[in-house]
Symmetry: C2
Subunit: 213 residues, 2 copies
DNA sequence: GCACAAGCGGACCGCCCGGTCCGTCTTTTC
DNA sequence: GAAAAGACGGACCGGGCGGTCCGCTTGTGC
């Protein structure tokens, strides 16, 4: 996790910044988005003030961590696209990856779920990645008519909800494929066209961002 | 919303108790589970101390409100079971109802989702109701082999996640049927047997309750 | 109608957490 | 190697929230 700024930091400051990001990711992974700043600083072996010198606010840190998630999503898509034994393979692999990440990283789960509004460019990047990963299935006609990128994004949220049934609990891995299968079946071509309209996460994020200004 | 206790309250106290429950439900519905106690008392036209005289802790209030939800789930099941034009009708109607409630009631959404561990008897009652509502479909062989009550409960959570894509946002109703359809299709018989093992919410709740003692 | 238990509410407490201040220490640069 | 710019961290602040206290009010039973 290396970070480059326009104005170069002093060597020790740069080192501390990186340690803070690593510590934050770990702490968030275990305790979710509302782990305290003090706890994160402590884990990084750093004072709270040092934290706030690097990040104007806790929210800024959350955004930085979230950006890391976005990069991972993009990488997961690249990896998933190498699977091609059957039309839905890449999509399935991607959704499976998303479940694993949500299972092992409470912060990612909460970000994907309902407790965080990501910045617009991040949503755009995610949607673009999702569009890429569903493309093979779409081209092969393996998806229901009308399935859009937003629906796949929604599917990741649904699967996250499925494996975290309640506070402090995680479904055993043996059960995951069950719900993955339900969703994949529900999205595949033999079900006929999808009814209703698709969710458009990008538009929604834009709307919320506009409202909060 | 009427409440009976073993030791009868004075008339004014009883009235205030009921006003608190109504206010709490409203406040929770709008603002979710972490609306402050003070706000709830204010809405009920009551002092904070009066609140704590009735409920030992905020958590007790949440439980009381949650119990109301359970009753509504049971009623929804009764209503859904009257639909019978096709084997899946009752199940579909129930899931649709659950979406509506989660959409209009942030507290219910958060309770169904990941922020609250309900008491054991409540989970039992919900699972029993869910088992009833899936029975017609099961009897007609309309469900995939291996679908259990826990899976239907999980389905409600998934649908909740689908319609609340992120903090402060709600999918327009026109989009709901889309995801309801995905889940129903994924659960219906023509997909072959369900892989993996079912989630067992009751066992999980018991486990968590035991751990927290 | 009176006495008293029961109920009431606003002020208060303690805790937690995000964010700031300031005296001290480290890196850099010449 | 010295001075200055930059970084450091512990102490501190303020606000919010769950929960309690206590002096006053009100419903109730005789």
């Amino acid at each position: 996790m290396n970070v480059s700024n326009a104005f170069p930091l002093r060597a020790d400051a740069q080192r501390n910044l990186e340690r803070i990001l690593v510590a934050a990711r770990e702490a968030f992974a275990e305790g979710g988005l509302d782990v305290g700043v003090e706890e994160i600083a402590r884990r990084a072996g750093v004072g709270k003030a040092t934290f706030f010198r690097r990040f104007p606010t806790k929210e800024a840190l959350v955004h930085a961590v979230y950006e890391g998630f976005v990069v991972e999503v993009e990488e997961a898509v690249d990896r998933a696209l190498q699977e091609d034994d059957e039309p839905l393979a890449a999509l399935r692999a991607f959704l499976r990856h998303s479940m694993t990440t949500q299972a092992g990283n409470k912060a990612f789960f909460e970000a994907v779920a309902a407790r965080f509004v990501p910045p617009v460019e991040m949503t755009d990047r995610v949607m673009e990645a999702v569009a890429r990963v569903m493309a093979p299935a779409e081209a092969a006609g393996a998806l229901r008519e009308g399935v859009e990128a937003g629906d796949i994004s929604t599917a990741t949220k649904m699967l996250g909800a499925a494996i975290r049934p309640m506070e402090g609990l995680l479904l055993p891995e043996a059960a995951w494929d069950r719900y993955l299968d339900v969703v994949i079946c529900g999205l595949s071509a033999d079900q006929g066209p999808l009814p209703g309209v698709a969710a458009d996460p990008c538009a929604m994020v834009r709307e919320v961002s506009a409202k909060s200004v």
